[in-house]
Amino acid sequence: MNIEIKDLNVDVENKKVLQDFNLKIKPGEIHAIMGPNGTGKSTLSKVIMGYPDYKIVSGDILVNQESILNLEIDERSKLGIFLVYQNPIEISGLTNSEVIKASLDSREHISLYSFIKDLEKDVDNLMMPKEMLHRGFNVGFSGGERKKNEILQVLMLKPKFIILDELDSGLDVDSLKIVCSNLNNYLKDHKDTSVLIITHYTRVLEYLKPDIVHMMKNGTIVKTGDYSLAKLIEKHGYTKTFDIAED
């Protein structure tokens, strides 16, 4: 999927959260955005998803050259955009499999047999206990289990643009490896799928290698490079890397 964010300015409660933001992601590319807390990284993910609290002051978001600004959250999702949440919510009274089945039904008809077969295969690949499918949605799940549950939905819904918001938070090393291995396999099979990784740390980038790394500060991208930029950030921290970039 081709994503282009052009000169985007976004306010929330009269406060500027994204300023003259530009980003181009070609089909099949993996981009990473790194930045300190409160710089607007998670805001960006919600803006792309179409959360109504964020006011687009100017600029555009194009998917395959078409503006998506007039689309609702669910319409953007059906277009193939998928946000892996930093803190996935729990919903009592709805089971995991119910939510995933309803999401699939909103896209295409799938027989119950195929659904169960695919779901069980993906659950096995993610090393999740099968009984989690029949529990309340994320109810009583650990942080790591919730993240696996998000990736389970990626595998089932087959998006074309995946936003990973702090994927590694709440995941131990073993679980991060399992999750990233599943994502890498998915990307191998879906070569046009683009990825935007939002992260503080380089840990996740060791398993999901980005083609391009951006550094974000005060709601805008201040530096773009390859994987070596991530290494520079890890070595020097954000402030010093920014100073080096300025020089």
Partner: protein, 233 residues
């Protein structure tokens, strides 16, 4: 599991064995349930479109779990708890007409425990009132009482929760919570981000609200069937 369809004006159910019951109640005005001493039981009740008085008594050392779906009811529920009895009552209301409901939990004797959870969805602009009264008199020691009420007010209906705790004893634990509002915005947005439209989300969250906390082994499909078909009609 004892399945009973009740269609008489008045019905008495004496639970004298450790057995479970599934009740479907049609046009019944008075239902008396008594759980005898030392008995543990579970009851599911489906009450569609009926004005009903339910009198429930738990004798000493008895345990009862009730899961109840009330559709367009006017309900008067009087609960009396005797020594060391333990009640968990999960009750869901779905209404699109005036529905006036009064629930009284009377801890008549010491060491009695009750937890009553009322989840309701008001589909219309009509009245949906839940009056929840918890009573612990002076001579009832070491009681535990909890009442939680929630109304999802989908169409700005006239919804009210009136919680009353009448506690005349310091050696007890008693608390309540009450919420009236719409579905949580973060739940709605999350489900939208998975491609679900507002109508599907309402259906899912309505069911989730009404079945939340229920432990249904045999009647789940029946409850879901009634919820879906009622909403459609």
């Amino acid at each position: 599991m004892n399945k009973i369809v009740i269609d008489t004006n008045e019905f008495n159910l004496i639970i004298d064995k450790n057995e479970n019951y599934s009740l479907e109640i049609i046009n019944t005005q008075v239902l008396n349930i008594k759980v005898l001493s030392n008995i543990t039981s579970k009851v599911t009740m489906l009450i569609p479109e009926t004005n009903i008085n339910i009198n429930l008594e738990l004798e000493a050392n008895s345990n009862l779990l009730i899961n109840q779906l009330s559709i367009d009811n006017n309900l008067n529920l009087d609960i009396n708890l005797l020594k060391n009895s333990n009640l968990q009552y999960i009750i869901s209301f779905l209404s699109s007409n005036d529905s006036l409901n009064n629930i009284t939990i009377n801890h008549k004797e010491s060491n009695s425990h009750s937890k009553v959870v009322a989840n309701a969805v008001n589909l219309s602009k009509h009245k949906l009132y839940l009056s929840m009264n918890g009573i612990i008199p002076k001579n009832s020691l070491n009681c535990f009482l909890e009442e939680n009420s929630k109304i999802i007010n989908l169409n700005n209906g006239d919804s009210k929760i009136i919680p009353n705790l009448i506690i005349d004893n310091k050696e007890v634990v008693a608390n309540h919570s009450a919420f009236i509002g719409n579905f949580q915005e973060d739940e709605v947005n999350y489900l939208k981000s998975r491609g679900l439209n507002q109508e599907t989300i309402n259906d899912l969250l309505l069911k989730a609200t009404l079945l939340n906390g229920m432990k249904l082994e045999y009647d789940k499909d029946k409850f879901i069937y009634f919820i879906r078909n009622y909403k459609k009609s």
